[in-house]
């Protein structure tokens, strides 16, 4: 069986949904004839035509606004942000219009807004951001961050079928680096369910996105020292799998919260609060956070290398916690 890359998995998921459901369409900058800046929508224009694969002006707010309008009319739009960084331009439409329609007047807005986030490719301050927390703080939205090809396909399908607005942050570092054999059946990955990527007994590392691989790399190294990490991939941040988080912490009694996003207001803070509130008596050590520092994402390789959390950080903190 052929291996499917992460980027191909997203494409396949969209493709299959478009074949099955004519309400599904794609709009965004350069998604048509060019196939998208990262080629996620490659071949779709030829297959589905220009009214289902729509090249738009450089207008992120209008792209999301138009997606909302079409969704209110019963369509299932998938809006591409060329880089997840640019989603800030659509912040208002997402947080004020899309997120609040159902609550205010009972109108569902089943849109998917997707785009490449994350660093590691020297994209600099405007092509490397992890903007998930602006949206995690908005009731009415859902936010997912797939880390595997299996999840990339299963979560995009779940997002497209979801009756509410879903923001789908793919990680551009993973596009071509991650591949696996995918099942041929029409599966979905349910939004809000975490996955254990490596079961372990000593310390839980709770993470998402590209940092899953950083955690796994650290776990492999620590194995040699007899420290057994459990690596949990949240997959969805809003809603997140509270039960799975608490279950893992109750089992290992020590926890590292790891993300590529910056520290203050990062998801680790929310997880730390939930663990402290609901599993305090199970903890045998301090809750530890490993995150990017509170700076923009820098461009030059030594700066970016410094910025991104690394396996060595996880190893260092895990050793400290193990000795605690």
């Amino acid at each position: 069986m052929a291996l499917t890359k992460y980027v191909e998995a997203i494409r396949l998921g969209i493709w299959e949904e478009m074949e099955k459901d004519e309400r599904v369409f794609v709009l965004g900058e350069d998604v048509g004839i060019y196939g998208g800046a990262f080629k996620v929508t490659k071949g779709m224009l030829e297959k589905f035509g220009e009214w289902r694969v729509i090249d738009t002006p450089i207008s992120e707010s209008a792209i999301v606004g138009a997606a909302i309008g079409a969704a209110l009319m019963g369509m299932r739009p998938i809006a591409e942000m060329q880089f997840a960084d640019f989603i800030s331009c659509a912040f208002d439409q997402l947080t004020n219009f899309a997120a609040k329609c159902r609550y205010r007047w009972g109108a569902g807005v089943p849109i998917v807004v997707r785009g490449p986030s994350g660093g590691g490719v020297h994209g600099g301050p405007f092509h490397s951001q992890n903007p998930e927390m602006y949206y995690v703080h908005t009731p009415g939205l859902k936010v997912v961050c797939p880390s595997t090809a299996y999840d990339a396909k299963g979560l995009i399908k779940a997002a497209i079928r979801d009756p509410d607005p879903v923001i789908y942050f793919e990680h551009k570092f993973l596009y071509h680096r991650i591949k696996e054999e995918l099942p041929t059946d029409d599966y979905v990955v349910p939004i809000g369910k975490a996955a254990i990527r490596r079961p372990g007994t000593d310390i839980s590392v709770i993470t998402y996105g590209a940092m899953v691989y950083t955690a796994l790399e650290a776990a492999k190294e620590l194995e040699k020292e007899g420290i057994d990490l459990e690596v949990m991939d949240l997959r969805s941040l809003l809603p997140f799998d509270r039960e799975a988080v608490l279950e893992s912490v109750k089992k290992t009694n020590k926890v590292i919260l790891l993300h590529e996003d910056t520290r203050i207001g990062g998801f680790a803070g929310e997880l730390a609060a939930v663990i402290a509130e609901e599993a305090f008596e199970y903890l045998d050590g301090p809750i530890r956070r490993i995150t990017a520092p509170d700076t923009p994402v820098p461009y030059s390789p030594p700066l970016e290398e410094f910025f991104l959390p690394k396996a060595t950080d996880v190893i260092r903190v895990a050793r400290e916690l193990n000795a605690y």
């Binding site: 369409f25 009214w51 289902r52 729509i54 738009t56 002006p57 207008s59 707010s61 209008a62 792209i63 999301v64 606004g65 138009a66 997606a67 909302i68 309008g69 079409a70 969704a71 209110l72 009319m73 019963g74 369509m75 739009p77 208002d92 439409q93 004020n96 219009f97 609040k100 329609c101 159902r102 609550y103 205010r104 007047w105 009972g106 109108a107 569902g108 009731p139 009415g140 859902k142 009756p163 509410d164």
Partner: protein, 339 residues
């Protein structure tokens, strides 16, 4: 009325003397009167009696715009009103009681107490709820039009906003997208000359909102917003243009806000002579005169119509005042689909 984009088709220019049916002419008076009286009760009576929760924004003096634009729409067409377009809600079929309950924050209001005042929507009437971020409905209407085009449906959307909204980026992005995609949408501007306290010349360096259309390649048409028949004519032509696949039109209705921005604003910054000038051009009195001149209504009939409107509102107020507030726990419901 003038068309500012010489390259584009000129909707409305040849239709100035066309009149709607007699029934429509009379309905126009009814809906304008109902709008005026309902907003008068809300702003000048119920608000001052402390029965309205939160802010009140009315469209006194602007009634002809929503009424003239919406009166001939089909039920399948979609309306995106803004905050001074009460007539749109009434014409689409939202009941006076539902509207009053909305302003009184009751469970029976259009948003069941989740949101206030003009922030009403209901897919049953193809009415899209407005948000306070002005101009946000402009790209949304473009998307509505795109869905009609994708599905080959013979439907249009009419999207309202004020002059102030045309300063926002969403307005420009949305109008541009609509023009590029040639969507069946009519964009209707209530140019009431003031954005809260800021006069037009502090909003834009062009003379007319319609001047903006040329930059986006769609027709920009100016119409007397206090003449309901002229609004009807212009919007009707723009709707026909949209239905025939020629794309969106920007219709600028020149009018005046005969109140402050909201019920708590005395509009002390507006020169008195402006109010005087526009009072003489009151859209309801003008239309009433037209109907009397054409023998479509008698002076006694006009009084009767007002009484009918009063009775309808009195009855609705009595019901809405007894309507329940939402249960506090309703706060937690419907953030997401609940099956």
């Amino acid at each position: 009325m003038k068309t500012l984009n010489p390259k584009a088709a000129a909707p409305g220019t040849a239709r100035q003397d066309a009149l709607p049916s007699e029934k429509t002419l009379v309905d126009m008076l009814y809906y304008m009167q109902l709008t005026r009286e309902l907003e008068f009760r809300i702003e000048r009576k119920l608000y001052r009696q402390g029965k309205i929760v939160g802010g009140v924004y009315v469209g006194r003096g602007q009634e002809a715009i929503a009424v003239g634009s919406c009166i001939d729409l089909r039920q399948s067409d979609v309306v995106c009103p803004s905050h001074r377009d009460m007539g749109a809600f009434l014409i689409r079929g939202m009941s006076v009681r539902t509207i009053l309950a909305q302003y009184m924050a009751r469970k029976t209001g259009a948003t069941r107490g989740r949101d206030g005042n003009m922030h009403m929507g209901d897919m049953k009437y193809n009415l899209i709820a407005f948000v306070s971020m002005l101009g946000d409905n402009v790209p949304v209407a473009a998307g509505i039009g795109m869905s009609f085009k994708m599905r080959g449906e013979d439907r249009v959307s009419v999207c309202f906003f004020g002059d102030g909204a045309t300063s926002r980026g969403d307005w420009h992005e949305g109008i541009n997208l609509a023009a590029v995609m040639k969507v069946p949408v009519v964009y209707v501007c209530n140019n009431n000359q003031y954005a809260y306290s800021t006069p037009l010349e502090r909003q834009m360096a062009v003379e007319n909102v319609a001047d903006r259309a040329e930059a986006y390649g769609l027709p920009g048409v100016i119409v007397d917003g206090n003449d309901v028949v002229a609004v009807w004519n212009t919007v009707r032509t723009a709707i026909e243009r949209a239905r025939s696949g020629q794309g969106p039109t920007l219709v600028e209705c020149k009018t005046f806000r005969m109140t402050g921005h909201s019920a708590h604003d005395d509009a002390g910054y507006v020169p008195a002579e402006l109010f005087q000038f526009w009072e003489e051009r009151d859209p309801i009195r003008r239309h009433e005169r037209l109907l009397i001149d054409r023998g479509l209504i008698t002076p006694a009939g006009a009084t009767e119509l007002k009484e009918r409107v009063n009775d309808e509102i009195n009855e609705a107020i009595q019901i809405a005042e007894k309507d329940p507030f939402p249960d506090p726990e309703d706060c937690l419901k419907d953030v997401y689909f609940e099956g």
